[in-house]
Amino acid sequence: MTGEPLLSVLDLVVRFDTPQGEVHAVNGVSLDVGAGETVGLVGESGSGKSVTSLAVMGLLPSPAGRVASGRILFDGKDVIGLPERDLRKLRGKDISMVFQDPMSSLNPVITIGEQVTEILRAHEQIGKADARTRAADLLRQVGIPNAEEQLDRFPHQFSGGMRQRVMIAMALALHPRLLIADEPTTALDVTIQAQVLELLVALTRDLGTALLLISHDLGIMARVAQRIAVMYAGFVMETASTTELFADPRHPYTVGLLNSVPAIDDRGKELRPIEGAPPDLEDAPVGCPFAPRCAWRVEACWTTMPPLQPVAGGRGGTGIDHAAACHNPVTAEEVRGAAPLRPGFVPAPPPSGATAAAASEEPL
């Protein structure tokens, strides 16, 4: 990546105020997306992927959600604290978004045509007939047959895949510079997923639109993303180019994720799930949130969260842009064994002062 990144998230902290207390949704995420780049954001549910993307759009649910600290630079300008009017100009025109469920992201009582033209009319002075022509073109672009006729139909007359195509057409209507796709294929039939993903990638490539792809599916990431950031409990644990991340993961959580994905040529090999459950985000994070589930943990893991540090490019030599937040990174041999192989190494027990809750989450 050269020069200024298009989107730069710096130390973003997002909190939600709920009746049950403060939820620590995002705890200091840093993330860069270069112009035209495809970046993957991986993590399990509740790891803060979607919240991070909503924060970028300035659409955290108000009044509960707020950016507690950090900066979000789009094209060098901080979008946090921008007045609603300026944010509105940004949304749809410069930054766009595709959601997980195309069933619920289209209004069931409004025709497809009107919904596609909505984004055009929000940003441009455009006549009804012109908007309609443009909308038909957009639908054609995403591979919807008989586009002209489809404009007058309602969402329920479309299949799930078609609806997601419509959403993509809308999101890319104004040639935004960044598209955030939040689990864009998760709600679709498996047979359709590949098609929609391909379309998304092809269109963003043609338009030079950067793509921030949010997913828990490492298979999708491997296919599409140039770079991947792995999130866990509101932190970025590791970030690297896709090839590097798969070839040389350093963070125990990344290793755990990779080991829990079934591979087609590894039939009969046992899957190794990550033991335990993610932490309760209502508790303020102390130390590394992955420590209770981690076999590599050392004493420091219980007390301090390590910063995201560049990985010394030893193996493979492509350590550029590879960073991990870990006190005790995994070695190449250990990746294959999926366990610490150093003689005499035992995971550090929770400190005596630690809460009983942390202790009980110890892997069995």
Binding site: M57, L59, R88, K89, L90, R91, G92, K93, S96, M97, F99, D101, M103, S104, S105, L106, N107, P108, V109, I110, E114, E118, I119, A122, H123, F154, H156, S159, G160, M167, M170, A171, D189
Partner: protein, 302 residues
């Protein structure tokens, strides 16, 4: 994947059928729907063309024909000053329907506007508006309407205003509750992501999704409104004699119950069937569009 459960009318796929085909589909869905459509059509038709055909008969006294029973000349008999009851009942239909339409058309837009406002803005605006509606819900609707009508002074116009004042909070509540659920729907977020303004979202997404539910409520309320107007008129707070209003007529007929049964019976029966028709229509529409609205919308009230 296609069987997305309809959570509200907003989620229900809009019926493709429109106009007469839609009416026909509705009628065929249940015999109660057929009955409702039949009654409402007859009453509406009577109200529209009846007075044209019967001319001024409704208010023409004929002292030679006082308190005659039903006959071929006077289908519903005559009243205590010899006016043709059928002509008066038909003229009453026009008054009742017009009053009901006025009430609903005053209460619904006003209530919906405030409800959408409360639901969209939230905060103290929501709090103030909803406590205001609570104030109305604290009293039985009819008692409150009677009190307001009595304060304004007896007349049909004042009764209409009184009933409309009592009805708007229901629409405010209804619209607000719909907006609150719509607000969390993903298509609203999607519209925001597209850069739509709050006003644009309200106009395009909220109003259109609230509309069908409000329309159902209006049809059910028409029956209630007719009943309220007649009841208030019966008590002397509404239309004054010699206006051929059903309630007013029944009030005048009280003294003749033992000597001329038709005098009270026919206006009463007409009123009953009309209210029944509108209530069935409201219930039928509600179940037809989405049975799950049973808890959200209320049926007969007064």
């Amino acid at each position: 994947m296609m069987e997305e459960a309809a959570v509200s009318a907003a989620a229900a796929p809009p019926r493709a059928a429109s106009g007469l085909r839609g009416v026909w589909a509705f009628v065929r869905a249940s015999w109660l729907n057929a009955l409702a459509v039949a009654i409402v059509s007859i009453v509406v038709l009577l109200a529209l063309v009846g007075p044209l055909l019967l001319g001024s008969k409704a208010n023409t006294a004929d002292f030679a024909d006082i308190l005659r029973g039903p006959s071929s000349a006077h289908w519903m008999g005559t009243d205590n000053v010899g006016r043709d009851l059928f002509a008066r009942v038909v003229a009453g239909a026009r008054i009742s329907l017009a009053s009901a339409a006025l009430i609903v058309l005053l209460a619904a837009p006003f209530g919906c506007a405030l409800g959408i406002l409360a639901g969209t803005i939230g905060g103290w605006v929501d709090e103030v508006l909803m406590r205001l509606t609570d104030l109305f819900f604290a009293f039985p609707a009819f008692v409150l309407a009677a009190a307001i009508a009595a304060t304004l002074g007896p007349s049909l116009q004042h009764t209409i205003i009184a009933v409309a004042i009592v009805y708007w909070p229901w629409y405010a509540r209804l619209a607000r509750s719909q907006v609150l659920t719509l607000r969390e729907r993903e298509f609203v977020l999607a519209a925001r992501v597209s850069g739509s303004s709050t006003l644009g979202i309200v106009a395009r997404h909220m109003v259109r999704n609230v509309l069908p539910i409000v329309a159902i409520q209006m049809s059910a309320d028409a029956g209630n409104a007719i009943l309220s107007i007649s009841a208030l008129s019966f008590l002397g707070l509404g239309a004054q004699p010699p206006t051929p209003e059903w309630g007013t007529m029944m009030a005048g007929a009280q003294d003749y119950l033992q000597t001329a049964w038709w005098f009270l019976t026919f206006p009463g029966l007409t009123l009953t069937f009309t209210v029944l028709g509108f209530n069935l229509l409201g219930d039928g529409l509600r179940d037809w569009i989405d049975p799950r609205l049973r808890g959200v919308l209320r049926g007969g009230r007064v």
